[in-house]
């Protein structure tokens, strides 16, 4: 029975507890919809949550689902709501020791709620700088934003993490854009940036994220895109083409659910998905992934038609004489449709 449990845990089953297995590093690219969240648990049990997605409720569900018992560090790659909202319940529940951040405040209520939660939890702020966080036997190198980035731009001040365990290497760089990756290319030797076994796609596969010059250095073997239904066209065909062009296997949380990476001592690793499989990596010598994904073409995700009219609340809808608003009509939004029956502000 013990052997079976160990096997199941190694396969990364969704309902299994996050209890650390001796010698095994686990990374979970969590299915948080349109957003990013990566849960990293060291063999010795310490966990780091890098971004939290856009929903407090969803993150609470995931922390329960994966049996998370504690968090040593929460990290905000940057201050955008689709990356930090889920950090709020994580901080409130686990009172982590450190809150890694880029040092630049956002103006949203969400950001205010997060910092208030960090303060209330007694969590120490950790301004991103060149340093290593040893998460047990796992080496996590912080990649701070290059100093030349404009402080008014959250994306360009994304905090990156390089995770190393044996020969295994994973890289996450938030929503950074070309100017920031160019800065990192100048800061770090190519041998530090690549090759990378598992790489989190920049900015959910946006057009302004990954570039051929950056990926030429990173040389990702597997790319995981944190993405859900969205109005932005993520992931873009350009980003997908870049990943295919470097011969990477592609995983998407909208199609594959949470993607779990289990790393053995020495660095041998497996990738498992909640559903479906990633795309087959293009042939490339040396790009050895211990899984054999079945070929699967990425399917386009549905995009919601942008509304030309918006109303802040039902009072505004009624004031405009438009109540009730039916789904598909200008100005309809799910927020205004409390019972979800397609008729808002009834």
């Amino acid at each position: 029975m013990r052997r079976l449990l160990l096997l199941a845990a190694l396969l990364g089953g969704g309902a299994l507890a996050q209890t650390a297995l001796p010698g095994v590093l686990t990374l979970r690219f969590l299915d948080v919809g349109q957003g990013d969240a990566v849960l990293i648990t060291a063999p010795e049990g310490q966990s780091l949550l890098y971004d939290g997605g856009r929903s407090e409720k969803r993150m609470t569900e995931l922390l329960t689902q994966y049996g998370v018992k504690s968090l040593a560090v929460v990290a905000a790659s940057h201050g955008d709501a689709d990356h930090i909202t889920g950090l709020i319940p994580a901080v409130q529940r686990f009172k982590p020791k450190f809150f890694l951040n880029n040092g630049i405040a956002a103006t949203t209520q969400t950001f205010g709620k997060l910092t208030a939660s960090v303060k209330a939890a007694g969590t120490q702020g950790l301004l991103a700088s060149d340093r290593v966080i040893n998460l047990g036997s796992v080496k996590v190198t912080v990649l701070p934003p290059p100093p030349s980035m404009p402080r008014g731009d959250q994306n360009l001040n994304s905090v990156g993490l390089l995770v190393e365990y044996g020969t295994f290497r994973a890289l996450m760089t938030g929503d950074s854009e070309t100017a920031e990756t160019q800065g990192w290319l100048k800061t770090y030797p190519a041998s530090k940036l690549g090759p990378i076994d598992v790489y989190k796609s920049i900015h959910h596969g946006a057009r302004n994220g990954d570039s051929s010059a950056w990926l030429k250095a990173v040389r990702p073997r597997n790319v995981v895109i944190g993405v859900g239904p969205n109005n932005y066209g993520h992931p873009t065909s350009e980003a997908l083409a870049l990943y295919k062009g470097v011969g990477a296997a592609i995983y998407r949380t909208d199609l594959n659910g949470t993607v779990t990476v289990t790393v053995q001592p020495g660095g041998k690793y497996t990738l498992n998905t909640e559903k479906g499989t990633g795309t087959t990596p293009q042939t490339r010598p040396g790009a050895a992934t211990p899984v054999s994904p079945v070929p699967r073409a990425p399917t386009p995700i549905p995009t919601l038609p942008p509304s030309s009219v918006t109303y802040p609340n039902c009072a505004a809808v009624r004031a405009a004489g438009k109540a009730p608003l039916l789904i598909g009509q200008p100005g309809y939004s799910r927020k205004l449709d409390r019972d979800g029956d397609g008729r808002a502000c009834e």
């Binding site: 209520q109 340093r131 008014g152 802040p312 609340n313 004489g321």
Partner: protein, 95 residues
Amino acid sequence: MSPEQRNEDPGISYVTVDGIEGKMARVELPDGTTEDWRLASLPKGVKEGDVVRLDVQGGDVNLKVDHEETDRRHALGQRTLDGLNVRTPDGDLEL
């Protein structure tokens, strides 16, 4: 404008531009949730982080960037974050 309309006017509220993604803007609504709005529906030149003031009167919606409120919120948020970071330890960390 009828008295009923006057009573239903929500008056002034604020949304915050959390992110701009191409032709769309992700805005944080007064209740803290986010929603995607067309960038063209927001005041020209709006930037990420800007607080936008919505004034609904008699069915007309007037939007403008509230620079004072934007600066106030940024300063408040920055003070709080700086306070959290002030004792950032030096060097590598062992956890």
